[in-house]
């Protein structure tokens, strides 16, 4: 047993020292009727060689952007992860440590989280941020609960243009608490501010994603004004990369900023682990879900970090906690901290502009294909929706044969958009990749016209 030091000899000696006859003795409290009287029916044991061979085989049965030209996005993106990020998150000092309950022995993790909180607060233009949550969807749901607690009304309003997966998690979280979820109608590719006040009447929060699921920018300043008329807090769901260029939530007066931070140095990983973040104004600090790290001093006046405001949390306050969160995504947050430290303002802005430039080029060349058009006339950041002359599923199947994955089918999530594809561009794409996509689309559209 490579992972278990005790030998049979050790076991016998230890049993003797504790005065037990056999290992069975130690399980005397387990009623005999419930004991398992057979070995578990699972495979193994495998040697390390066998295990790596098996795992490599499973990995090879998955197709990744190494083997196809992929424009899949819609919340998770194939961005480059700098080598240093995985080297830092691969240090046992970080990845094998526990939640920093013993602060004096966990200053590395605690300071990294403090730096993460600062980076997120600065990116979003908010006062404070928490130590991370599971993903963007749960961050949004927790923010909705924060608003419900602050406003004491049982309704939230969420834009139809918010990621369908996020809205689904929101419903799961607030549904059993009797919180009504109203949807804010869209006008084309963005929320219609003119119809917001009615739909949001009496809502604790108006929740809008910017850029939204379609990649489009939302009219955040108008939405802010309309949300105020309805007496609602504004929760902005943002893409941290976009914030290097786009106005952060703090600038347009959002009360809470949440989002998915996967692109800050985490791989796609079939959708997890991801990185949720929540930032807000000081007035809501005590309602924040999850861990918060604060700086303090020891008796000699040396600066140090601790988990603070723990009286909000489940292990102290139990049923009256602000959330049930215990674990956060500390290691992914550490990766994001390394990532943002490497890129800095200039690097992140350069990256954002590169992605936006390639995305714009992609939209232009795709729109030039006969029979293909941009579905929405809104400014967009890293992704956009194109409409094809036939069902997007069919287009995807045809293009897959040419080794091209053109994007996410919008029809899976929105009625009336069956012919639409959400095309996402990352910094791994260049002009040649985009041209390949465009000629691939051109070919299948021409083919589709022939048949």
């Amino acid at each position: 047993m490579p992972y278990i030091p005790n030998t049979d000899n050790d076991r016998e000696q230890m049993l003797r020292e504790i005065g037990a006859e056999s290992l069975d003795d130690l399980f005397a409290d387990v009623p005999a009727e419930f004991r398992l009287d057979r070995p578990l029916d699972i495979p193994g044991p495998l040697s390390e060689q066998e295990l790596t061979r098996h795992m490599a085989k499973l990995a090879s049965m998955n197709t990744t952007p190494e083997r196809v030209l992929s424009f899949l996005g819609g919340g998770v993106y194939d961005m480059h992860v700098p080598s240093l990020v995985s080297h830092v998150t691969g240090m046992p000092q970080f990845y094998t440590a526990y939640t920093p309950y013993q602060a004096e022995a966990s200053q590395g993790t605690l300071q990294a989280i403090y730096e993460f909180q600062t980076l997120i607060a600065r990116l979003t233009g908010m006062d404070v941020a928490n130590a991370s949550l599971y993903d963007g969807a749960t961050a949004m749901a927790e923010a909705a609960l924060l608003a419900v607690g602050a406003k004491r009304t049982r309704k939230v309003a969420v834009a139809e243009t918010v990621s369908p997966a996020f809205r689904s998690v929101l419903r799961t979280y607030v549904g059993s608490l009797g919180v009504e979820v109203a949807e804010l109608p869209r006008d084309g590719g963005a929320t219609d501010p003119g119809r917001l006040a009615d739909a949001a009447d009496g809502a604790a929060a108006v929740i809008v994603q910017h850029p939204n699921f379609f990649g489009s920018l939302e009219p955040m300043r108008e939405i802010r004004a309309e949300a105020s008329k309805a007496g609602s807090l504004l929760i902005a769901v943002v893409d941290p990369l976009s914030l290097a260029v786009l106005a952060p939530p703090g600038e347009y007066g959002a009360d809470v900023a949440v989002g998915e931070g996967q692109t800050l140095g985490a791989p796609m990983g079939f959708g997890g682990p991801l990185l949720g973040f929540v930032a807000t104004g000081r007035e809501h600090l005590r309602r924040l879900p999850g861990r918060v790290v604060g700086a303090t001093e020891d008796h000699e006046g040396r600066r140090g970090y601790v988990m603070t405001l723990q009286t909000r949390e489940q292990h102290i306050r139990r049923a009256r906690a602000t959330s049930n969160i215990c674990t956060n995504q500390a290691l992914v947050a550490l990766g994001a901290t390394v990532y943002l430290s490497l890129l800095g303002d200039e690097g992140l802005k350069g990256l954002a502009l590169r992605v936006a430039s390639t995305a714009r080029y992609a939209a232009q060349v795709l729109a030039r294909v006969d029979g293909v058009s941009l579905r929405f006339e809104r400014p967009f950041f890293r992704e956009f929706v194109v409409e094809l002359p036939f069902d997007a599923h069919r287009a995807k199947a045809d293009l897959a044969e040419a080794g091209i994955w053109p994007g996410v089918s919008c029809g899976c999530y929105y009625e009336g958009l069956e012919n639409c594809l959400l095309v996402s561009v990352s910094e791994n794409h260049d002009r040649h990749d985009v041209d390949t996509l465009a000629s691939g689309v051109e070919a299948i559209v021409a083919q589709g016209r022939d048949t």
Binding site: G44, A247, C326
Partner: protein, 496 residues
């Protein structure tokens, strides 16, 4: 971290203090299309007015900063990490390696089934293995953490009762439960009813009988419980709750003690969560990511979050493994995608590496190691609930407290001696609690080292209590002022 005797200031400046304008840590590929003019592309009013204030550093500076921070952390590869209820076991390296294979890391969650058969088969088989290990009938891998699994379980209970037209709003939790239990059931819309533990630290069966009624939605039980003892009357507990139509949820935090020995499903639990980051050796990451799959008996399967990984040997859809989205009675999603997949990869690799015999040995050695420590420490620290323990046990520093040394002081002194502390002040039903869980990956030698340190501290508490109450002195910082932290709330760096 417990370095030279002589005090040196180990404080590492924040990354913001290290920043020097103009430094860069990354080079972007050359842009080969026209660069957008942000004002024209996004509209002037949509632009950021000033830079965020991210640090500017070169790669070696960033590397060094985080390497220095790493030095300030205790971790499992140093020595014993005996946090009770946290199952801090060694994290096998091969699991880290396989979870970094590009076929897993660069897999987009919208990838079609035919192009993700490796991941889907891994998820399907992991869920089957978890069923076999637990005696449950179906598993959702979606909950990204134990607390999320608890919430999922409670939402399932809610859906189950609601569908039967029953208004049951109370969930019973023993007073020894993890804080997440009452928090999770409250989030699911239930009201907690706290049940006082019996004199032996177990569920008080008579009190439970009195507490249940037609408004009881269920009970959340940790077994072995947080005192480290098996609920020997669990059969009665379950019968009582089932007798009034309630459901029994297992908080699976302590499953490590049961692998291959006893299966919660055979005992009669209706549902449970697994902590892949505890029992199945996925690392804790300094506080996440974890993974908290939920297992249920077949009558509750329809309520699980969708999609569920599924298998069709006849390949009627053209693929063997697929995601089954069917399920109108599902409670809905608890994560954007399928949960923490890369954590699942590690847990799956761990199960295969150990096999049936190995998993049983995990439980046996975890329990043996805990009993060994308990035996060697119970004469110097009070053991409020005597008897054999399972994977963990709870000591009390109440004897030391009489001399002015609290559980917290014992914990801090352990840090001075180069070891990590047990969980302190939990479970709440033990005064000055020191909750010790060594796990099976500790050798007898490291256990003896822990015993020696704990006995030395007990001695110091009598002979030189100040040595203990002043601790830690060998850590990078001394005891930190938490009151000040909560009062002054410096949670973001504003020093530049």
């Amino acid at each position: 971290m417990t370095g030279p005797r002589q005090k040196r200031d180990l404080r590492e400046p924040t990354v913001f203090e290290l920043s020097v304008p103009g430094r860069r840590g990354w080079r972007l590929p050359e842009l080969d299309v026209d660069e957008v003019d942000p004002a024209r592309a996004f509209g002037e009013e949509n632009l950021r007015s000033e830079p965020a204030g991210l640090p500017a550093l070169s790669e070696p500076e960033v590397a060094r900063h985080f390497a220095r921070l790493a030095e300030l952390n205790y971790h499992i590869e140093r020595s014993v990490y005996p946090l009770g209820s946290c199952t801090m076991k060694y994290n096998p390296k091969v699991n880290e390696d396989v979870a970094r294979l590009a076929g897993f890391t660069r897999l987009h969650p919208e990838t079609d089934a035919a192009s993700s058969q490796g991941a889907l088969s891994l998820m399907y088989n992991l869920s089957r293995h978890l069923c076999e290990i637990s005696g449950m009938d179906a598993v959702s891998l979606e909950p990204p953490a134990g607390a999320s699994g608890e919430l999922t379980g409670m939402l399932i209970a809610r859906a189950h009762h609601r569908e039967r037209g029953e208004d049951r709003h109370k969930v019973i939790v023993p007073d020894s439960a993890h804080g997440t239990n009452p928090a999770s059931l409250t989030l699911a819309g239930f009201t907690p009813v706290e049940l006082k533990s019996g004199p032996d630290g177990r569920v008080d069966v008579d009190a439970l009988r009195k507490a249940v009624g037609e408004d009881t939605a269920g009970v959340m039980i940790t077994n072995p419980n947080t005192l480290g003892v098996f609920e020997s009357r669990i059969g009665d507990v379950i019968d009582i709750v089932h007798g009034v139509g309630g459901l029994v949820y297992l908080d699976g935090a302590n499953l490590n003690a049961s692998l291959g020995i006893v299966r919660p499903g055979d005992v009669g639990f209706d549902m449970m969560h697994f902590n892949l980051h505890k029992t199945f050796s996925a690392p804790h990451g300094g506080g996440g990511p974890g993974a908290g799959p939920v297992g249920v008996k077949s009558f509750l399967k329809e309520y699980l979050p969708r999609p569920l990984p599924a298998r069709d040997e006849r390949r009627s859809r053209g693929v063997e493994y697929y995601m089954d989205h069917e399920g109108e009675r599902s409670i809905g999603k608890v994560h954007s995608w399928y949960g923490n997949f890369l954590v699942m990869v590690k847990a799956y690799a761990y199960i295969l590496a150990l096999g049936p015999e190995g998993l049983r040995r995990v439980a046996e050695n975890a329990v043996l190691n805990a009993n060994y420590l308990q035996e060697k420490l119970k004469d110097v620290y009070e053991l409020p609930y005597d008897g054999r323990c399972q994977h963990e046990f709870v000591l009390s520093a109440s004897r030391q407290k009489a001399g002015g040394v609290k559980a917290l002081d014992v914990a801090k002194r352990l840090l001075d001696l180069g070891l990590h502390a047990p969980t302190v002040y939990f479970p709440l039903i033990v005064k000055e609690a020191l909750m010790v869980e060594p796990t099976e990956t500790e050798s007898r030698r490291s256990l003896d080292g822990f015993v020696e340190a704990m006995r030395r501290i007990a001695r110091e508490a009598e002979e030189d209590p100040e040595k203990v109450t002043r601790a830690p002195v060998a850590t990078p910082v001394g005891r930190l002022d938490e009151v000040r932290a909560a009062r002054e709330l410096d949670v973001v760096w504003e020093g530049d």
